[in-house]
Symmetry: C2
Subunit: 210 residues, 2 copies
DNA sequence: GTCTATATTTCGATAGAC
DNA sequence: GTCTATCGAAATATAGAC
């Protein structure tokens, strides 16, 4: 076992601190608009010092991609996306909502820098079907599922994603739990309009005040 | 009246052609990653020539912003957002869906380059409440409306936007009309779950195949 | 309106001292 | 691990001829 460096508990390595700063700046201003000088200034050391910890700017982006990838993999297990059948879609997106709410910043980083992340070389596009994003793409492209249902599934995902973005902006003061409840409720209304599964646990609180 | 330059009908000015190219490249690759050299190459003339038509790169971005702004203004009139009451929300978003479907590329350009557009100086932020985006923001922040309803409104907007993005990607082969019908249907399911207004013209075609 | 040539700036990256 | 100094590339922008 390689021994992790001795460091006071609760204190992050310089490398992790750099990643935290980069995550913040990339999310706020975008990968292209964020310069290494900017990151270095926030770290209170010179630009060249960054190159001791990372081989290149792309390497920083890659490390952040890996952070997200690991979370995505863990999410895949939780969601058990392999064996997901149409009847499980609501549960699947519920898990997805939880995953997003637990990792808001990383997710918003991914939304904002989607293009830059795609341009990373490393990507083993051996059709691995390993990535959570690729898995979703397959599901939404599956010709064995009626088009209307796939469209609705994508709309549900869209509502969830935008809901998350808004939560960090317009609804910053809204408690996470209220967001979660309302998001789950909306997912049901999209995927099971009219309450197809009346036995399902509909968590929605306050609906429309007629 | 300043007379527009004499030009064969149906032929665009060089300036407009530049804007078309820029719109395409900014949408595909982003504002920061698109260089003036790239635009000039596509126009088959030199980079310097661009500066005859535009004072700066930002000036090109500004011109595209104005294109979008005009459409937004026209949309505001169509939607009559001033006098919109909660009961009109579904109709309002229906109009919004139409507006988006008619201006997909400009809208996707705006989504992708939202940050760059915000950084444009010009923005008269005199709280003008003139922009369609600002108007929506106010609506979603109005404390006079129950939080749950505002959340649902934002989710509906999110579903519509993502639906549009997907339409250019995963659902590129889906006819516009099918998209429009399904989008409208979903908006109703989000804003009026359970069919609050049974007399409303629900256009949804094929719902869930139980 | 478009060209060539060049100024100016910024950025990612490297070399080598400490 | 961090520094100073600098390189080379690419970008925006300008000057001035045609």
């Amino acid at each position: 076992m390689a021994r992790p460096p001795a460091r006071p508990a609760g204190e992050k390595s310089t490398r992790e601190q750099i990643l935290d700063v980069a995550l913040e700046l990339f999310t706020a201003n975008g990968y292209e608009k964020t310069s290494l000088r900017e990151i270095a200034e926030r770290m209170n050391f010179s630009k060249a010092a960054l190159y001791y910890h990372f081989a290149s700017k792309d390497d920083i982006l890659l490390a952040l991609h890996l952070r997200l990838h690991e979370i995505g993999q863990a999410g895949l297990e939780r969601i058990e996306m392999d064996r997901v059948r149409p009847a499980d879609w609501v549960r699947m997106i519920d898990e997805f909502v939880d995953l997003l709410l637990e990792n808001r910043q990383l997710f918003m980083f991914h939304l904002r820098n989607h293009a830059a992340l795609e341009n990373l070389q490393n990507h083993e596009h051996d059709g691995a079907n390993q990535d959570i994003e690729e898995r979703a793409r397959r599901l939404l492209s599956d010709p064995g599922i009626p088009q209307a249902r796939r469209l609705r599934l994508s709309f549900a995902l869209g509502a969830v994603m935008i809901g998350l973005v808004m939560s960090g902006d317009l609804f910053a003061s809204t408690p996470t739990e209220e967001l979660r409840v309302e998001l789950r409720s909306v997912v049901r209304d999209i995927l099971e309009p009219g309450g197809v599964s009346p036995d399902a646990d509909r968590e929605s609180s306050q609906l429309l005040p007629r």
